[in-house]
């Protein structure tokens, strides 16, 4: 276990170093983690305590996660404490200071020009980084300028080639530090050289683990668990953050939750960890918990926009209109030109049934970020609602082409085609979505329904799908009921009875009632009666008598029949009669 003190000290130095190199988002992340560590008693200020008081109250409410108190270090912890690198120049050159000022004013080219003859590693990094950003900025502009009717002409960052040449030369001569390696990795990734990019990034994080930007770039290059496992990473507490994030993106939610709950032992008040935990819980469909966590997050950090689209999804699922509108209003005031904000507003309109407006906001989100996956998918849902299937299909397809693992979009495609009466065509898409999320009963049920349509009527396949759904915890109990009905339809009464009984047991356990229950009871009573198992038949009949309606009459007549049959066999043991 790393001591909180070490983490704190390391982070404090790292923040200074990162912001000195203008790696602001990494510095931001490090800062969040720094205050996420339990309060430092040595320099507590009133404001600090106020902040922590708020968050601890949340923790008290949010006590479901027992594992916090007993963190399990999942990796053998013999962490070689990575020594903090010393600054190569204790005092920055004057030119560096000027360049940094230019950089902070977003005059990237100017910044890199100032540093053109500086040879220190730090200056070289800043120059290259500024150049890279200048290229990126120009690329974004060109993308809009060159947009033709056939789509964008592929604008590229024109600095990449020269940057790659320079950085690779520097790397050969060893004139590059871990920040330069990070930049090199980014450049290589853009150029499409993924394996080399990975190697460079691994080297960077091994020598300087506190640069979260490097870790997240590395994560984006780990598209499969095999790649992740093949990385040769030094043990450091930052690696745990990385693994948690990487597991999450690889849809290994329980593993990632374990990582986060361990990290929470150190960074008990980290908003980041809380948000990530909420994300994982969301994927596991624990909406209530997620809502509580997000509420806490917002109280701590009321101007947070990151991840709030997820919160809005939860509110959407819970149909909490007021809360959603409140959230939308809040993020709108904070920063209306964030794709997340647009998404939240879109969700709100969607919930209110104003689909055209919803689509407009999703479009705006996509304008802000073309690769914003969830907006494409959500827009697809909206178009489905608007019965504009071709547009929906188009939107889903774009989502899938951005990330082929997006099972929601595959599922949406399947649904859209099924809506158009093309169930056989839709099956392919359902299969795809199930491939990426094989343990979700909803997907299996959707596929089974597809097989069940009157056009296909492939009941055997439907049964197979429902069975899979049952195996992967079907929370709504559709699968059991359908299985029973299908078996009944196919004349396999034994199997039907088995599933009806199971379904009945489930409904009993959850305290549910309804037409399904009547159906099950009636079937079971009749079934057992025809099989001369009068005892069981009677049990079900008497249960039916508790309800009013036609079922009651049916039960009565069944009971009468049973009595008749039993009196027909005088040898029957009369003791079993509940009189």
């Amino acid at each position: 276990m790393v001591s909180k003190e070490t983490c704190r000290n390391e982070l404090r130095v790292a923040i200074r170093q990162l912001s000195d190199r203008c790696l602001y988002s990494a510095a931001k992340w490090a800062g969040e983690q720094l205050v996420g560590i339990e309060q430092d008693p040595s320099n507590s200020t009133p404001s600090n305590t106020r902040f922590q008081r708020g968050s601890s109250s949340i923790r008290r409410r949010f006590s479901t996660n027992e594992s916090i108190s007993t963190p399990q270090p999942s990796v053998g912890f013999l962490q070689a404490a990575t020594p903090l690198p010393e600054e190569d120049e204790a005092i920055d050159g004057d030119l560096y200071l000027l360049a940094k000022a230019y950089f902070d004013n977003r005059e990237y080219r100017r910044a890199s020009h100032v540093l053109r003859d500086q040879m220190s590693k730090k200056s070289v990094f800043l120059r290259c980084y500024a150049l890279y950003l200048a290229g990126e900025k120009r690329k974004e502009e060109e993308m809009i300028e060159l947009e033709g009717p056939l789509g964008k002409s592929d604008a590229i960052n024109r600095e990449l080639v020269s940057l790659e040449r320079e950085l690779s030369a520097l790397r050969r001569t060893g004139g590059i530090d871990s920040f330069g390696l990070y930049l090199y990795g980014v450049v290589l990734k853009e150029k499409g050289n993924e394996s080399l990019a990975r190697a460079s990034l691994v080297e960077s994080v091994n020598s300087y683990p506190w640069n979260w930007s490097a870790w997240s770039e590395l994560q984006s290059l780990c598209t499969s668990i095999e790649i992740l496992n093949s990385l040769n990473l030094n043990n450091h507490w930052m690696k745990e953050f990385f693994l948690g994030y990487a597991y999450q993106e690889l849809r290994m939610h329980t593993e990632s939750l374990a990582k986060y709950s361990y990290l929470q032992g150190i960074f008990s008040f980290s908003n980041y960890i809380q948000a990530q935990t909420a994300k994982a819980q969301y994927s596991l469909r624990e909406f209530d918990q997620v809502e509580i966590m997000f509420e806490g997050l917002l109280r701590n950090d009321p101007y947070r926009v990151e991840d709030m689209d997820l919160y809005s999804n939860v509110l959407y699922a819970k149909e909490a209109c007021a809360a959603l509108s409140y959230l939308a209003h809040k993020v709108f005031l904070t920063d209306k030109y964030r794709p997340e904000s647009c998404c939240i507003i879109g969700n709100y309109y969607s919930l209110k049934g104003q689909h055209e407006k919803a689509v407009m906001y999703f479009r705006r989100a996509l304008k802000l970020n073309k690769k914003y996956l969830s907006a494409w998918t959500l827009m697809g849902h909206e178009y489905v609602e608007m019965k504009n299937t071709p547009a929906a299909i188009d939107a889903y397809r774009r989502a899938v082409d951005i990330n082929p693992c997006d099972y929601r979009a595959w599922y949406g495609l399947g649904q859209a085609y099924e809506m158009m009466g093309m169930p056989f065509y839709a099956l392919h898409y359902f299969r795809k979505s199930i491939f990426f999320l094989p343990n979700d009963s909803r997907l299996w049920i959707a596929m089974a329904k597809c097989y069940q349509t009157e056009q296909l009527y492939m009941l055997e396949e439907a049964i197979k799908c429902y069975k899979r759904a049952v195996n992967s915890t079907d929370s709504e109990g559709i699968a059991l009921n359908q299985l029973a009905k299908l078996h009944q339809k196919l004349g396999r009464n034994e199997e039907a009875a088995f599933y009806f009984e199971k379904d009945l047991g489930r409904m009993d356990a959850e305290g549910l009632e309804g037409p399904n229950m009547f159906e099950a009871l009636v079937f079971l009573a009749t079934h057992f009666k025809t099989h001369k198992k009068f005892e069981e038949a009677e049990v079900y009949c008497t249960r039916l008598l508790d309800y009013s309606g036609p079922e009651k009459e049916k039960a009565k007549s069944l009971l009468r029949g049973i009595r008749m049959a039993q009196t027909g066999f005088p040898t029957m043991d009369l003791e079993h009669f509940p009189i």
């Binding site: 009717p149 002409s153 188009d394 009466g421 065509y425």
Partner: protein, 922 residues
């Protein structure tokens, strides 16, 4: 979404277009003079005009030519003034020093256009008519430039810099080489050339005017259609009968074309300048590529990876051009990559909703809101079909039928029904009960009792009716072909659903087959209404520009002797009359079908003529699989009528041409030939091996590759028969008969029955053989299989003779009845057998005496012996020599007797030592 509303009109100013504008300024300067400064003659001036017209319209590539290429072309066109043109061009570019110069340049451009209202045109004034092609081009350029924002102008400016930098190196090199070129001009020839071109352009203009606007999305419809059609051809013409061929010099030509097209592809890959041509030109180019994939798709000279990489490039440049996905699908389809093909197909339809590229139905029908996903189903079905998943294909097509009925898309329905009937007739699916039942309620009650053939018939009729009412000429034509094929292969039984008035003929009727074929071909010739819009815009110009690459010095007359040239001439001609590739394919297919039908009916010369017509006229435009089939037929013909030596020589040529094609049927043919020859030579081991290999080619799935399977077991039975294992041979033949019955392969039934008769004959059970022979004859009669009937009659006669010499007279009568057919159309083996049998009959006839009429017998035997020698059929040849020796012995001609005896000995030795023959075969 975006894909739905996308229209034509992407016309961006690029450096290349500015080059063209500069040249146009030279061509038509605003100053008044009869002949502008650098031109020395009117023809030279015209030539530049034609060149400009071509480069504004050509579509031979997705990228615009670089400055270097342009300069090279100018050198070809401009001849002695090429250098001046190049210099002027480069100077003009270098004078563009700031964005402001661009602005001025386009202002100047306005000056070269004649004004619309000035009716008075002076005689020798050169004015660019604003409504002409070139004038339109200038106007579009000016408009596009005016629409540019300042950023756009800056981009244009910087791309001009890149463009000039690339061209610069080449132009200096050109200056050096220019002096050596010298004056190559031959004015006479050039005038003729430009005269021809004038006519060409006139024609082009006519087309343009007639057409009005060129439909934007055409390609996919055509590609789709081609896939259908190709499969129809597959379906229609798979039955390979024995026939032989003559080699054709065309083969080399076709490969040359293939190479050329692939090399142009390679060229595009090195490109890194990003100036796309106009939308229309890209569409045309994609269309051309689709044709190329179609024609050469499965031969290795056409590399699918190179086409793939440029498609990728194109997609990067124009992500909203969804048709690229379809092209990718076609490419993957032809390179047999199932998963990639599926993926691209689905992606294409997801993005385009099936509306980009389908002009089959006017969009006003109102269902465009829902997209045209039924077409996706149709394509998917055909894809499954092609990859050999008949059941999946059937499911998908059923869904396609349902959806198109729902959306009342009759066009798609017609195509789907046609595809479905193909599928059914090709795959021989045994259980299709539910398919039709759900589709046509009137037939529901009887549907389950219908045989597959009857279903095919219903589907075809329905498709034909729909296509006819929708005036889809080509579908009608291919349906007629399919119908002809159906009538050829299947007995017509009265269908319950067609009422009591339906005819009750139990036989196929050659007349109706012929009628269907003719109907098909006739309708195709009348394609003007549907397909004139199908011509690829600008392909003529592309061809013209390509011709620039060729040396100029050749006089026109010598072109005719040069086959390469004449082929380009034909291409050229093709472009002028604008027969779409698919139409000529369809006409070609009708000839192939004719050949097949003549094969079945037993007229070898007719079959050969039709195949030759096909190869000569349609060889260039046909898909590789069709061309292969034609070669196959010709080689089979050779083997049957000219012996194996010629056939194998021809096969070698065909192999070079086609063996690289995947799923090649050439391998099949080779095995067949080797098997036949091994049987004849008596090398049974080899025959057995070949037969097994043949069987191994067939897919293991039930009901797939039926023809191949039947063929394999037929050959197995024959091998067993040759090995004198009669009971086993009979077993195989019996089970084969059952298979044929199950899958309704009527024609095969006839030959199996004949084989059974042969087996009984050889095993000495003439009495048992008789019913089989008779049954075979009656089958042949009802299908009009004349040649097979003649051969069955021969067997029948042999059986009679086998019953005893007292039946010799009857046998002889039978034989003489069949003789005209056998001698006129039969192959070497059949003829020899007939001759020998005739001799046998005479010899065993007690009323016939050899000494009085020796020539009757000897002539026949000599004929037979000659035929068999070329065929290397040792067993029969030995028999013939033996008979000859005996007869000569009787007659006392000892010299001839010895000769025949020696021949006999040689054949017997060869029969016993087949190994040495095998050496040179393999």
């Amino acid at each position: 979404m975006a894909g739905l509303t996308r229209t034509a009109g992407a016309f961006a100013v690029t450096p290349h277009k500015i080059s063209v504008c500069i040249l146009l300024q030279i061509y038509a300067p605003s100053a008044q003079m009869s002949l502008p400064f650098p031109f020395s003659s009117v023809s030279q001036h015209n030539r530049l005009g034609l060149y400009l017209l071509s480069i504004t319209k050509s579509c031979n590539d997705i990228f615009e030519p670089k400055l270097e290429e342009l300069i090279n072309q100018l050198r070809e066109v401009g001849e002695d003034m090429g250098a001046w043109l190049t210099d002027h061009l480069i100077n003009r570019f270098s004078s563009l020093a700031s964005p402001d110069d661009l602005l001025n340049f386009f202002n100047d451009m306005r000056g070269i256009l004649g004004s619309l209202d000035s009716g008075v045109v002076q005689d020798d004034q050169i004015i660019l008519d604003p409504n002409s092609n070139l004038g339109m081009f200038v106007r579009r350029c000016i408009l596009a430039f005016n629409l540019l924002s300042f950023e756009g102008v800056c981009h244009l400016f910087s791309s001009i810099e890149v463009y000039c930098k690339e061209g610069h190196s080449s132009s200096t090199q050109f200056d050096a080489s220019n002096n050596k070129l010298g004056p190559l001009t031959q004015y006479d020839q050039m005038d003729m050339e430009s005269y021809a071109m004038d006519k060409a352009t006139e024609e082009l203009e006519l087309h343009k005017n007639a057409r009005g606007s060129v439909p934007f999305h055409l390609h996919t419809a055509e590609a789709l259609f081609e896939v259908t059609e190709e499969q129809m051809q597959h379906a229609g013409l798979l039955d390979t009968r024995k026939e032989t061929s003559r080699t054709s010099k065309k083969s080399t030509e076709a490969t040359a074309v293939a190479c050329a097209s692939s090399s142009t592809l390679e060229d595009t890959l090195v490109d890194d300048s990003l100036f796309l041509r106009t939308n229309l030109q890209i569409q045309g180019f994609l269309m051309e590529q689709a044709d190329a994939i179609e024609i050469h798709g499965r031969s290795s000279s056409f590399s699918s990876s190179s086409i793939e990489s440029f498609l990728e490039q194109l997609q990067n440049l124009a992500p909203e051009l969804h048709r690229v996905h379809f092209l990718r699908y076609l490419n993957k389809l032809h390179s047999d990559d199932y998963f990639a093909a599926l993926d691209n197909l689905l992606r294409y339809f997801d993005y385009s909703a099936g509306t980009e590229g389908f002009d089959l139905v006017p969009p006003s029908t109102g269902c465009s809101m829902y997209g045209r996903y039924e077409i996706a189903l149709l394509c998917l079905g055909m894809m499954h079909f092609r990859f050999g998943h008949p059941n999946l294909a059937l499911e998908v097509l059923t869904e396609a039928v349902r959806v198109s009925q729902q959306l009342s898309n009759d066009t798609c329905l017609a195509y789907t029904l046609a595809a479905m009937s193909n599928l059914l007739s090709e795959m021989g699916i045994a259980s299709t009960g539910s398919v039709l039942g759900s589709l046509y309620s009137p037939v529901t009650s009887t549907a389950s009792s219908l045989s597959v053939q009857q279903r095919v018939y219903i589907l075809l009729k329905e498709s034909l009716r729909k296509a006819d009412s929708l005036k889809l000429r080509r579908l009608v034509a291919s349906n007629h072909l399919a119908m002809a094929k159906f009538e050829l292969m299947h007995v017509q039984r009265p269908l319950l659903s067609f009422g009591p008035k339906a005819s009750t003929r139990h036989k196929t009727c050659p007349v109706s087959v012929c009628k269907e074929i003719r109907l098909g071909a006739y309708l195709v010739s009348d394609f003007s209404s549907e397909s004139s819009t199908m011509t690829i815009d600008g392909s003529l110009s592309s061809a013209w520009l390509k011709d620039l690459q060729k040396p100029w010095g050749l006089p026109l007359i010598s072109k005719d002797s040069d086959s390469r040239k004449s082929s380009t001439f034909f291409q050229f001609y093709d472009h002028l009359v604008s027969i779409p590739g698919s139409v000529s394919q369809l006409i070609g297919a009708s000839y192939l079908l004719r050949a097949t039908s003549w094969e079945l009916y037993g007229s070898a010369p007719m079959a050969r003529i039709n195949t030759l017509v096909y190869v000569t006229l349609f060889g260039d435009s046909s898909s590789s699989s069709d061309a292969e089939l034609a070669y196959l037929k010709l080689i089979q013909h050779l083997a049957l009528y000219k012996g194996y030596k010629d056939a194998f020589a021809a096969l070698k040529i065909a192999e070079e041409k086609f063996l690289t094609v995947s799923k090649s049927k050439i391998l099949l043919l080779k095995l067949q030939l080797l098997h036949e020859r091994a049987l004849h030579c008596g090398n049974l081991k080899l025959a057995h091996r070949m037969c097994n290999e043949l069987g191994g080619l067939a897919s293991t799935a039930m009901g797939v590759d039926m023809e191949l399977k039947v063929e394999a077991s037929l050959r197995e039975a024959r091998t067993l028969l040759a090995a004198k294992q009669y009971s086993q041979a009979a077993n195989v033949a019996h089970s084969l008969f059952c298979t044929c019955h199950k899958f309704n392969l009527q024609i095969e039934k006839a030959s199996v029955l004949l084989l059974l008769a042969e087996i009984h004959k050889k095993s000495g059970n003439a009495v048992l053989g008789l019913p089989y022979a008779l049954a075979s004859i009656s089958f042949c009669q009802s299908f009009n299989l004349d040649l097979l009937k003649a051969s069955a009659t021969l067997t029948l006669a042999e059986l009679w003779l086998g019953l005893g010499s007292n039946h010799a007279k009857r046998a002889l009568d039978l034989l003489h009845g069949a003789f005209p057919m056998i001698l006129g159309h039969g192959g070497l083996e059949l003829r020899a057998r007939a001759y020998i049998f005739e001799a046998n009959c005479y010899l065993s006839d007690p009323s016939f005496s050899v000494s009085t009429d020796p020539d009757t017998v000897l002539d026949s035997l000599r004929q037979a012996s000659d035929d068999l020698q070329t065929l290397e059929y040792h067993e029969l040849a030995a028999e013939a020599s033996y008979l000859m020796a005996m007869v000569n012995d009787k007659l006392g001609r000892f010299e001839e007797r010895e000769e025949a005896a020696a021949l006999f000995k040689r054949h017997i030795i060869a029969l016993e030592n087949p190994q040495d023959v095998e050496q040179n075969m393999a």
